[in-house]
Symmetry: C2
Subunit: 326 residues, 2 copies
């Protein structure tokens, strides 16, 4: 009953909105057509806007902040920095847009590549999502870390790998293993399996790697979301000097591998592996990631960083402060 009435009402809203916005009629014309008063039409339009029946979206042009980019490049010796210019740091559109920008860069580099290794993550998901299916570069796509448990499906590693390979029209190398074994010994056994050894070898010998950077923020951390580490554990890691992770390898503020207790149990490429890959692209955006990004940049593992202007400023600022202190 209520549904019925509601439905009719929002249908009216949509109808008025369509006449006004799509068919460019005046409120008076609409009022006459539907035999309503003009004021009523006006109120319906107001309601349509506020209730979301009419949605007005503004497509900001995507532009890079070249100044910040070259500042990052020279400061950290990067091959390339991609800095998406943003107005507000918390804009929910930032990550998809950064993905778009990064995807374009990646597409341009993929022509000369034969194998690409990828890690899961919200940011890398967006990059893969934004890759054009016409790219068709016949690049082999390799899963660089094991599959995570209980994670939101969208960011599942193997699915991401498959999707990308399909878009690029190339082969896939899955890493058929959990992300983390229960004990270091089990991890050793798993790593020594022929299939897994081979998959890791393929990933290691990639020309390009795409990874995300994680934080120790309990709201954001993939460690908490996957249940691999609890909030208390996260807090302890932070106290002991960890600032974030790259491909699930914890790093400290100075860019060294932080020896987390679970580190030997991870199945996937190590920081050294990533360092040996000719081009390692890290994507990360958001104020909370600034410290982690700084650590990642100092590690020397990254050749290309994609981020937003807000975060880039914070990173550069933090670097300047610490350098002055020292």
């Amino acid at each position: 009953m209520n549904d019925f009435a509601d439905d009719h009402h929002s249908e009216l809203l949509a109808q008025v909105a369509s006449l006004y916005y799509e068919q460019d009629k005046t409120q008076n014309e609409i009022a006459a057509e539907l035999s309503l008063s003009r004021v009523k039409v006006h109120r319906l339009l107001q309601e349509a806007r506020s209730s979301g029946v009419v949605q007005i979206t503004i497509h900001w042009p995507m532009s890079s902040d070249l100044e910040l980019a070259s500042a990052l490049e020279s400061r950290f010796g990067l091959q390339k920095a991609i800095v998406l210019r943003v107005r507000r740091a918390d804009d929910p559109q930032t990550l998809p847009r950064l993905g778009q920008l990064t995807a374009r860069f990646l597409e341009s580099r993929l022509r000369q590549a034969t194998t690409m290794a990828i890690c899961v993550g919200r940011a890398t998901y967006e990059v893969v999502h934004a890759i054009s299916p016409d790219a068709q570069t016949k690049v082999q796509v390799a899963q660089a870390i094991g599959t995570m448990p209980r994670f939101y499906q969208k960011y599942d590693s193997s699915a991401l790998v498959g999707q990308l390979a399909q878009k690029l029209g190339g082969g896939v190398s899955y890493l058929p293993s959990p992300l983390m074994a229960d004990t270091p010994e089990a991890a050793h056994v798993i790593r020594s399996q022929r299939d897994i050894e081979e998959a890791l070898h393929v990933a290691r010998s990639a020309d390009i790697a795409l990874i995300g950077i994680g934080t120790l923020d309990p709201q954001t951390s993939g460690f908490v979301k996957t249940g691999l580490v609890d909030q208390a554990g996260l807090e302890r890691l932070r106290r002991e000097g960890a600032v974030g992770d790259m491909g699930w390898r914890m790093i400290s503020a100075d860019g060294q591998l932080f020896p987390a207790d679970f580190d030997p149990r991870i199945i996937g490429l190590t920081l050294d592996d990533f360092q040996r890959i000719p081009m390692t692209i890290a994507v990360a955006s958001g104020a909370v990631k600034a410290q982690a990004i700084l650590g990642a940049l100092r590690s020397g593992v990254i050749n290309v960083l994609a981020t937003d202007s807000e975060t880039a400023s914070l990173v550069l600022q933090a670097e300047a402060e610490i350098t002055v202190d020292a």
Copy 2:
């Protein structure tokens, strides 16, 4: 150079649009703030709208046409008809919306199911796309027909199956075979492979099947898009009495399997297989599909039909005409 200027211009457009539409400032206020004349602001807003920097979308409420639905149900002995009410038949939003509506129905039926078979297609893609990832029904998803060649990746059968299984949190049964073998003999060999026999068996014993309905219209036909049949061949099929296809099996106007020359070469469920599945859901929308849908309904293979009100009317009308003639 030009890029730079263009970028600045559309940035201005976006800025003005944001101030006007998001921050509800008046054109006069904006003019003052950016030191432009009010007329200029007005013109920028016009340009922003016409150039697509500002996009206004109207979300029509989704409603079913229950009258048409029950007319279809009683006329063709369907378990259920889903009829999306549409205003214009050619609205590009129709298919996604129909997918949404069908997905909701499917989700409600999936709780009692253990296995679901699906066929590729634009319409079924939309249904799968609209399934909520929280559904988590642990249903096994089975690919009901082989994988097509050279098709737009988005509609690739195996990818669709994988995506759905992931959303539903259940297992997958791939059909590792091309859609069509080169000769009937080769098809026979392929079908007799253990893996394929098994995959077909899983699909056949599904509780629910989801299929699309194809037409012989050269613009729309998947046969032409995949290059399996050329336009001339399509024309010949039409002359000989075929009206469309379900899961790549051609049907005639009276709902019989039309014996196309390529039929024995297809690897996938047959019409008889689909008929034996307790609930076969067909999704199809668009005026060009009316004849094909009519044939499909008459075949008795379908238990549930999802379509739009426009197409539903055409189908009922065509049925009435032919019945009167006879």
